[in-house]
């Protein structure tokens, strides 16, 4: 049998498969009738068989290329990406993730590094002259002071909701950057964690030196627990990613990196929830005219939630 005859015989099938591919590419899978799908699958199997036998048939290379494309295209339509599955994600976030984080060395490292450098630079910003100016910059400090100079608090809800949007965008972006940049050079996570801790700690230290009246402390109370924990969590996820290149645990570097990526992903989701919660509090409660004890209460409740999540949910024995 010559190639011509073979092509004549198979061309119809291939064309039909192509047409079906084109149809499927344009619309949702759910709208495809069962019969067509079954027919599609059998056409696909035939094209696979043709490709497998291409060598035996001695097909010329461009016919083989054509078949490669056709099979690849049909393969992509047959095995499509699955949608988001909300149910499994609930389990992941509230069951498996806390237990994993409870034993996560990177989270502990990020926690120690962050709070260690935070407190150290807070002390330096408070005790050492000019430290804050050199670290954060004069301009940023003045702006910080101005923002918190007037204790006349109380925005209306409109302004507050606008601020929520701003904080969601601004803070969560910083958190995601913490995560992503942690990947760089394997140990980038350490650098990012420390630089965030030093920046924030210095501002806190500097604010403590002010003699003028400031609402800074009242402002940061309510949303502090969620926001700072969010940064630690994101940094830890970034560290896990970056360190996996260096400490492979016996896997190849590529495989180690992929495993870390799979494990880090739910952590980012958690981090984004924390930042989202912090943004709502920071926009609506922190600048409001509510008495200080309500804000302290919010902070306490948030801390209690965090303890519940990381410790109580985390320490349960694995299944």
């Amino acid at each position: 049998m010559k190639v011509v005859d073979l092509l004549d015989q198979r061309r119809e099938n291939w064309r039909e498969l192509e047409t079906l591919c084109m149809r499927f590419e344009g619309r949702r899978r759910s709208k495809v009738e069962a019969e067509t799908a079954v027919h599609f699958a059998s056409l696909y199997r035939c094209a696979c068989a043709d490709l497998a036998l291409a060598d035996a048939y001695q097909l010329p290379p461009n016919t083989v290329n054509y078949l490669h494309q056709l099979v690849g295209r049909a393969h992509n339509q047959l095995y499509r990406s699955q949608g988001f599955n909300v149910g499994t994600w609930f389990d992941e976030i509230f069951d498996r993730l806390p237990r994993r984080l409870f034993h996560d060395g990177y989270l502990r490292l990020a926690f120690v590094l962050f709070w260690g450098f935070f407190l150290a630079s807070m002390y330096l910003g408070y005790a050492s002259d000019g430290f804050a100016e050199r670290v954060v910059g004069e301009e940023a400090l003045r702006k910080m002071e101005d923002d918190h100079a007037d204790s006349a608090q109380g925005r209306d809800v409109d302004e507050g909701l606008g601020a929520v949007g701003f904080y969601i965008r601004h803070n969560t972006s910083i958190g995601l950057q913490c995560f992503g940049l942690g990947l760089l050079f394997g140990v980038g996570g350490i650098f990012i964690t420390i630089s965030n801790a030093v920046g924030l700690g210095t501002v806190f230290g500097h604010m403590a030196t002010l003699t003028t009246e400031t609402d800074f402390w009242e402002f940061v109370t309510a949303h502090g627990p969620f926001e700072l924990t969010g940064i630690v969590v994101m940094s830890a996820a970034g560290m896990r990613l970056g360190f996996s290149i260096v400490a492979t645990g016996g896997y190849t570097r590529g495989e180690s990196l992929r495993r870390a990526g799979r494990e880090a992903f739910p952590t980012i989701i958690l981090g984004m929830f924390l930042f989202g919660g912090a943004a709502v509090i920071e926009g609506l409660i922190s600048p409001s005219s509510l008495p200080y004890w309500t804000k302290a209460l919010v902070a306490t409740a948030c801390s209690a939630l965090l303890v519940f999540y990381f410790v109580l949910l985390g320490q349960r024995p694995g299944d």
């Binding site: 005859d5 035939c46 494309q69 990406s81 980012i268």
Partner: protein, 302 residues
């Protein structure tokens, strides 16, 4: 296998499907991915501006200007971090830019991309675009591995492949009368071995892109021994001889394809001199034993 070196520099990537078929994808390099990225960037900005203005206008109308600004900022956050990830998760590995450029993201094992992979690989853009959005990290990492994977792709185990837009013709046919004439002069009993058949079709596929002198250079390696063997006159063009061999191997023969071709004058006496019949009845050389073709089970469709 000799193909190892070729594989190392080629942009083909082979995948074995659950059906136990190996098929190849063409990997997309930076120059395919950059235009797709720029198109996506344009779409992002256009959508962002439209939505932002729309939201501002709407909330301005009901006197909640700040809410509008806040919502606009959230939209900006979502679009800038998750636009590509959400599209790739929902559109089977394509963003609008990738769809226009005929690219698709798939897992390195050939499976479709999972939502987690889609989101993660695009969040990690932040590492790839360092320093200062110059994408040096991504470029260098992509240059250092075979799949053109940037950091985000490495972490997620994904790769970007090209979906061929135009489906090339299934088999090229030789139409030059000279080649068809020569094809009849090739002895019927000559069996074309498998690797020669491959070489012939590779040559015929590429010869149109080559200048005449280069064609002669390349074709003489195979053409000269063949000409001697068949006892063809010395002025025979090697280029045409290879085309003739290709035609003989893949097209002419059993079903009398050659008869359809115009029969040039003067071919008869050479054929007689060679003692060969132009139209072979014998099984043509080179083709593998005919195997029963798998047929489509159309009864399933009803």
């Amino acid at each position: 296998m000799a193909a190892d070196n070729a594989e190392a520099i080629d942009t083909q990537f082979e995948i074995v499907t659950p059906e136990n078929i190996a098929f190849q994808y063409r990997l997309a390099g930076p120059f395919q991915r950059l235009p797709a990225f720029l198109i996506d960037l344009l779409i992002q900005y256009a959508v962002l501006i439209i939505l932002f203005l729309g939201v501002l206008f709407f909330f301005g109308m009901i006197r909640l200007g700040f809410v509008g600004v806040g919502l606009g900022l959230v939209i900006q956050f979502v679009i800038s971090w998750f636009y590509a990830g959400l599209f790739e998760a929902l559109w089977n590995g394509q963003t609008p830019g990738k769809r226009l450029m005929r690219l698709r993201v798939i897992s390195a094992d050939g499976q479709p991309i999972r939502p987690v992979q889609a989101i993660l690989r695009n969040v990690l853009h932040v590492a790839d675009c360092q320093p200062f959005y110059l994408y040096q990290v991504g470029l260098w990492v992509a240059a250092c591995n075979r799949r053109y994977a940037r950091l985000g792709d490495l972490v997620c185990g994904t790769m970007v492949v090209i979906e061929e837009p135009q489906y090339r013709s299934m088999a090229l046919r030789v139409t030059e009368p000279e080649a068809l004439r020569l094809a009849e002069l090739i002895p019927a009993g000559f069996r074309v071995p498998r690797d020669m058949a491959l070489a012939l079709s590779s040559y015929v596929l590429r010869r149109r892109a080559l200048p005449w002198t280069r064609r002669v250079q390349i074709a003489r390696h195979l053409g000269e021994p063949l000409r001697m063997r068949f006892g063809l006159p010395p002025q025979t063009s090697y280029d045409m001889l290879l085309c003739a061999m290709y035609h003989r191997t893949f097209f002419a023969g059993a079903m009398g394809q050659a008869e359809a071709a115009p029969r040039p004058v003067g071919s008869g006496e050479i054929a007689v001199a060679l003692g060969a019949t132009p139209f072979a009845d014998a099984p043509p050389g080179g083709s593998a034993p005919v195997q029963p073709l798998p047929t489509v089970d159309t009864t399933v469709v009803g």
